[in-house]
Symmetry: C2
Subunit: 345 residues, 2 copies
Amino acid sequence: MKSTSEVTIYDIAKALNISPSTVSRALKNHPHIKKETKRKIIATAGEMGYRHNNFASNLRQRRSNTIGVVVHRLDSYFIASVFSGLEKVASENGYGLIISQSQESWRKEILCASTLFNSRVDGLIVSLAFDTKNFEHFNIFIKKDIPVVFFDRVADCHECIRIVIDNYKAAYEATSHLIAQGCRRIVHIGGNMLRNVYSERLSGFKKALANNNIEFTKDLLFITDMSEKDAIEVAGKILRMKPRPDGVFASNDTTAVSIIVELEKAGVAVPGDIAVVGFNNDPISRVVKPNLTTIHYPAKEMGEVAAASLIGLLKNSQVSSLSTIVLKHNLIIRNSSIKQISHNS
Amino acid sequence: MKSTSEVTIYDIAKALNISPSTVSRALKNHPHIKKETKRKIIATAGEMGYRHNNFASNLRQRRSNTIGVVVHRLDSYFIASVFSGLEKVASENGYGLIISQSQESWRKEILCASTLFNSRVDGLIVSLAFDTKNFEHFNIFIKKDIPVVFFDRVADCHECIRIVIDNYKAAYEATSHLIAQGCRRIVHIGGNMLRNVYSERLSGFKKALANNNIEFTKDLLFITDMSEKDAIEVAGKILRMKPRPDGVFASNDTTAVSIIVELEKAGVAVPGDIAVVGFNNDPISRVVKPNLTTIHYPAKEMGEVAAASLIGLLKNSQVSSLSTIVLKHNLIIRNSSIKQISHNS
DNA sequence: GTGAAAGCGCTAACAA
DNA sequence: TTGTTAGCGCTTTCAC
């Protein structure tokens, strides 16, 4: 491939009978170059089909102007929204994005990290895989002072920045809302407890129960992979329980929606028999009937903030005292959880 | 940042009293190196904290092992699925992915292309923005024999590969299905006719009408931005039409779903009064009530095929006679379009 | 305001 | 099987 040979600044220099350094300076708008010279150089560069060689430039400058991103998966609305925010801020600041997905596997996540390390990203943005048990694979970055920013599923790491929402409080609010609607036997469906998002939501759930003198029982707790298959299974178990639960708080919307669909298939009314609350505010939550009560998660903003904090760190090139940024969530009450008409409005 | 200085193959060479080239060879598992030497080199490389420098390597080899991707947006289920396929195949083959989004703007798309060109991607994968009017910004790639693969929203370009589905046929089938259900006044909602996906769907729609002796009328055609806002507007217009349409074929699922939601809000029954068919088979289509009849679009496979064709081209380093790859779609009939019980089963 | 020259770290042709 | 050596194309210090 690439049959045509590349034009370099040397070629331009030769063509204009000046030195390569002058060409280099002109091309990056260095102030010491005469306007006329600059104009000429830029013109001939265009004519000759010159393109800047990032490899050489990066090699020389020892930086890549690139940010690496590791996420658990790409095909979720939440992650796609985060990405959209990341890309926006990164490109506005002249940074490229290299992405890789761990496919929810610790092993693959280690691989991703190492690949990005070798491609010399200037910084790293990560949301952890489901089963990641330690964070040693990020030490190579930290040792080299390459900043690492976690979002959503974050690591407990002293040198890193974390962008999160208050999962504990959000879960507390969601659960309290169910209790206010009269629910007493509330099922919680969560994911791997290694991940802050799931463990904190469980804590918030428990706290809300405790505050309302409802005993927490393990029978009503389901730890799953948060897949559609799991949701359908859990729905089956719920249907077979006696006494039957009267509320469900699921850690994401896709799970909550699957539960609603399965319950209604079985003739159980939502919210009449069982009220349901999800998490994330995916578009799907506004489509399912009844519309899903859920926690609004500022995904795109999270991406923007993650990229902005990382770039801030890179530009200031100094240790920042920033540690954790908490974005605002809020409970969106829709019909899937409203048992008592005119309860709160 | 990066306070620690980097270990190079020279450092390893010095430490072991051998030559840099031997180190280089050992590190890439060159067959001519003695096993014992290789072992030692890899061991000390690890100890010394060596990492491969892609910049130098790329500069030397004049290739980046990187594929550039330009998409119209990232926050759609369809694109996210494509990405998941792209990333899978790319990483399996040792390629990195640099992504950028045109945000549906021709201007931004030109920028994206040029940025990726300068970062010397080995190949380019593109789905066009809504309003892109010419494809000149891809000529820089073609001139340098850098392969360009389009997917979904493709360009009419002789040197490029296109990965598509048969949009014409899919639309024909969708429309024919509506007609078979008894619809006669069918609305079509499409996007910018500059894009193959929308123009071909319109053609298929018209053809199906013609084959059934139904006259096409402009009153029943809506060309929109395919946004939620547009969908709600169109729904309003449909409600005010007399005689009222009895079917809707929308060019994507989000639009179809918005239409359903709006119609039902207004007390119009779907499919009873108006049957609705969408396009894409987003998860949302299985959640909306009634479940949405739609065209299954093999998004992840499309990503995989796009990456695989591009990489095939790169590896063989020769002009391939490949031009267009058509993936299989299929009509998924669900309740939103079934007017006549026991019609087809 | 411009030029000379060294070197970023790696690879590969050629030599041994 | 291993070593020597000459760049890849750019930036930047120092000199003028």
